[in-house]
Amino acid sequence: MLTFLAAIGTVFLGFLAATGRIVMFAGLALATTFTPPFYLRAVLREMVNIGYFSLPVVGLTAIFTGMVLALQSHTGFSRFAAEGAVATVVVLSVTRELGPVIAALMVAGRVGAAMAAEIGTMRVTDQIDALTTLSTDPLRYLVLPRLLAGVITMPMLVVVADIIGVFGGYLVGVYKLDFNPQAYLDGTRQHLETMDVVSGLVKAAVFGFIIALMGSYHGYYSRGGAQGVGQSTTYAVVSASVLILVVDYLITAAFFGR
């Protein structure tokens, strides 16, 4: 029994220590935000990486998510003659929940992994030490641009995902389920409130920060050559994905919980 409790205690202490290290890492990187030099070009490059190059994968997942949602909610709601709510359910689900979460999970897999691999390779080949010896702070040069780009770009990406997701629902609603196009659009607009979209965009910004932080943190502390870099890539994606789902609940509770 004592061994079991000790094991739980060890895991919990390890969790607290890891949380502390990640918060310190983020704090040290963010502390460089307001003092020169500023690497604006690096921020723009990361914004293109996170946003523009993720558009195809995010767009594809968003359209199919909207389509499936329309189909599923129609088959469910038809059991108690509430088919008219399909458009509203699709738009609320996509803007509040599925747009930001699906986009963030896709970006975590695509960009978070790439960040961890790139920074991790720089770590194990002494490139990060080389930055320091060339009077360049690695946190300012490598980490901060990624954190800023994540926070700025994810909401933009989620706006696109929201529009495409709702459009996917519209396609299925109108061309497969025979909704009147005007009635579907009215259903989409009628019950949508500003806070539905705003909460989704706030989530997106936080998710962007989480993805960039996990990718950078695990890459920065990579050890042991190619195997270590591979491991840090896995940790970056898994930890970002889990954190996205946990934080999603917390933000939803903060916005809409009673």
């Binding site: 030099p37 390779t121 720089m122 080949t125 002494d126 490139q127 030490d129 080389a130 320091t132 010896t133 060339l134 009077s135 360049t136 702070d137 040069y141």
Partner: protein
């Protein structure tokens, strides 16, 4: 050190550094005069790179003192450390060139990012440094991955000397190079020290290189300096560790881990 001595460029006292239970540096003490070339020799895993990383501030020692120009550097705050780093140049064993940048951008990196120099002016200096290590302007436009190992090493050397630092650290400068290219690199290091007055600290296993570039040689074993002296005295050091190492004998007081296992 007496009061009549000039201030030492580098002075290390009682330096200790461990990784887990393994103590790598154990009260290490060493000095280096300004404008001189110090070469540190020793077997693999004896802590040579750890010593250099402690001096550079890349690793934090558990105890001891590291003075640069007489000023204590252990425990320096971030801003002061960044100012101090401008005195340093470093040639890493594997080159540590930035894959995403072109060769000239690698060489000019410290000038542009570290010192805020204009790109055009920094490029001129980078191309001059590349020429000094025997590489043309066309090589400057390539990516590091497009160069051979020897060329990458030369680019790394050009990057280390680009900002004309006061102290340059060379980690295995000739490893992986053919004998002719190794001699070219040795000549460049000697030129830096003799003509520019740079202080050089090198780590090497290559005794030909050590004899050519060193004013003084120090032998590191089990975290301590077991012998140090002028280069010309190394052959009559009468130290069993030095004798075994410079003659490359398997038998002697230094036991390789594979033999102890």
């Amino acid at each position: 050190m007496t009061n009549a001595d000039p201030v030492l460029k580098i002075s290390v006292r009682g330096l200790r550094k461990s990784f887990g239970r393994k103590r790598v540096l154990d009260g290490l003490e060493i000095d280096c005069d300004s404008g001189k070339s110090l070469v540190i020799i020793g077997g693999s895993g004896t802590g040579k790179s750890v010593l250099v990383k402690c001096i550079l501030g890349l690793l934090h020692p558990e105890a001891g003192s590291i003075r640069i120009d007489g000023i204590e550097t252990v425990g320096l705050r971030r801003a002061a450390r960044e100012r101090l780093t401008q005195k340093f140049g470093m040639l890493f064993q594997g080159g540590a060139l930035f894959d995403s940048l072109r060769v000239w951008e690698n060489v000019a990196f410290g000038l542009i990012q570290g010192r805020g120099m204009e790109r055009a002016a920094a490029k001129d200096i980078a191309l001059a440094k590349l020429a000094a290590v025997g590489l043309g302007a066309e090589a400057g436009e390539l990516r590091p991955a497009e160069l051979s190992g020897g060329m990458q090493k030369r680019v790394a050397l050009a990057r280390a000397i680009a900002a004309e630092p006061e102290i340059i650290f060379f980690d295995e400068p000739t490893t992986g190079l053919d004998p002719i290219m190794a001699d070219v690199i040795n000549d460049l290091i000697v030129k830096c020290v003799r003509e520019v007055g740079t202080t050089a600290v090198s780590i090497t296993h290559d005794m030909i290189s050590a004899r050519k570039i060193a004013d003084r040689i120090a032998m590191l074993h089990e975290g301590r300096i077991v012998w140090h002296g002028p280069t010309e005295e190394i052959d009559r050091s009468a130290d069993p560790f030095v004798d075994q190492f410079i003659n490359g004998r398997a038998e002697g007081p230094i036991q390789m881990q594979i033999r102890a296992a």
